[in-house]
Subunit: 293 residues, 2 copies
């Protein structure tokens, strides 16, 4: 599939093979295959080989107290990740993992993102939200079933909009209090029930920065495994550059030119801010805008 | 906000007023306002006035056993919906509601969609998925808090891709077994953890119809309250018109021309299929393609 943007964490080589994971007999067959590969993890962190790729072992490496997540097939080879359910959910992004995402190819990071998101989802959803009883892993890790009330639960993916407000050749970047020093990025927020993507962009820009979008252009998307969002990047021209910041969400925000964005990417000594890392779609978005893509 | 597509169920007049719903004192103030309006519902169905608009009462109409969902503000007027938690989740789409969506203006349907989705989310999430204890409504209905383990839960929105595969001037429409007779629509599927929107379009087209997308163009989106999805419409040229159908997902599929889509919209006597209703984004998508927008 051609894409003009190629954001990080996209393009996994694995076929998710839904026709296998929904059938218990087919799952048992791939689980028993001598070719089956098991992802090596240190809790949620990946192991990375000298080639900057994920490291896979055989099923013999499976921890005693683990379930198996079926990640998909590449040719005849089934790929799994170990799921240890009884570990606490870790919650938000661990900057420690970013050094792995920095060196892994995007399609490898994409495979890792699916495994990590699924494991975190299971750990936060051991109990049925409908009846409160303990539920069980189903569909090779792509669901949970409650044997008490019969409810089926599927992994949650939270849609998030991440957007550049633009005005007269400048774009708006802001920083959250938790960001590393001098880092600025595009504004972002969760899409809520009863809202379109375009509606969420408009609402968030007004809530966080007091600017009114006149239109919204979708650019590209990426999965983000901290813990489980679908990041959708947009560009939104706004009516004015006058800002009213929500200081609980944003510590600071400023308008930057295309040249200032390019300087930030180059790490120029007089750069006005530190850009988001190449594997984050905020980077893709800023680059697409600065390079007029 | 200008949008070239204006899908159904978008454009609510209410300001969600996050600055109110996250503060208990501000919420109490709007809850106590004499101006406060309460949405009239028959369980999950809306009441519709002679003007095809939602019907609102005063707080005196609040059912005894209900919580209040804060839907937002219009000027000085706060809007609420009653939440009766202890009713079973209804699950999938009720075609009965479609006749209301048929006559309500899109921005009114958008307000209703938010209320309906939130109510269904609460009913399916009375218990904490992390520890299994009963949780409580928080943030004016935009969250639940578990007093046993401290977990905070936020309303779930499931991102879904809905797409037209295109090949040499034709587009692919299919029908699910649950569709009304002769109804055909765009193919659709959930975005999974670790997947981009473009990746989900590509995977679903291959899984359901055996066609390979060469690119993906995002068009527009809408919320869909049965129970709680974000529908994102895309157009995807594919390599060939040869189909391999997943007959568990699709009962039938066929390639249609732009003229055949326009005939279906017109309800022509020799129309090849019945088009999706105007308030569904599948309609917006088919129209955008057939009219070269």
């Amino acid at each position: 599939m051609n894409t003009p943007f190629n954001p990080g964490l996209t393009g996994s080589r694995l076929d998710r093979a839904d026709q296998i994971r929904i059938k218990e007999d087919k799952l048992a067959e791939v689980r028993g295959s001598l070719r089956a590969r098991l992802l090596k993890l240190n809790d949620l962190d990946p192991e990375i080989g000298p080639d900057n790729m994920l490291v896979w072992g055989s099923m013999i490496d499976r921890p005693d107290d683990s379930e198996l997540l079926f990640l998909g097939m590449e040719g005849d080879t089934p790929y799994f990740a170990p799921l240890i359910e009884n570990a606490p959910p870790t919650g938000q992004a661990a900057y420690a993992v970013w050094r792995y995402l920095d060196i892994m190819p995007p399609e490898e990071a994409s495979t890792y993102a699916a495994a990590r998101s699924l494991i975190e989802w299971h750990r936060g959803h051991l109990f049925c939200s409908r009846c409160g009883n303990r539920s069980q892993v189903s569909k090779g890790g792509w669901g949970r079933t409650c044997q008490s009330c019969g409810a089926e639960h599927f992994p949650r993916v939270d849609p998030v909009v991440i957007m550049l407000a633009t005005f007269e050749g400048k774009a708006l970047v802001g920083r959250q209090p938790r960001f590393p020093p001098d880092r600025y990025s595009a504004l972002a927020g969760f899409v809520e029930p009863g809202e379109s993507l375009e509606g969420a962009v408009t609402r968030e820009l007004f809530e966080e920065a007091g600017v009114h979008a006149t239109s919204v252009r979708y650019l590209s998307s990426q999965p983000w495994p901290f813990p489980n969002t679908l990041m959708m990047a947009c560009i939104a021209p706004v009516e004015s550059d006058e800002l009213t910041l929500d200081t609980e969400e944003l510590e600071a925000a400023k308008w930057v030119t295309k040249q200032q964005v390019l300087d930030a990417f180059d790490g120029a000594v007089d750069a006005q801010f530190i850009a988001p890392p190449h594997f984050a779609i905020a980077h893709t978005l800023l680059r697409a805008w600065a390079e007029d893509k």
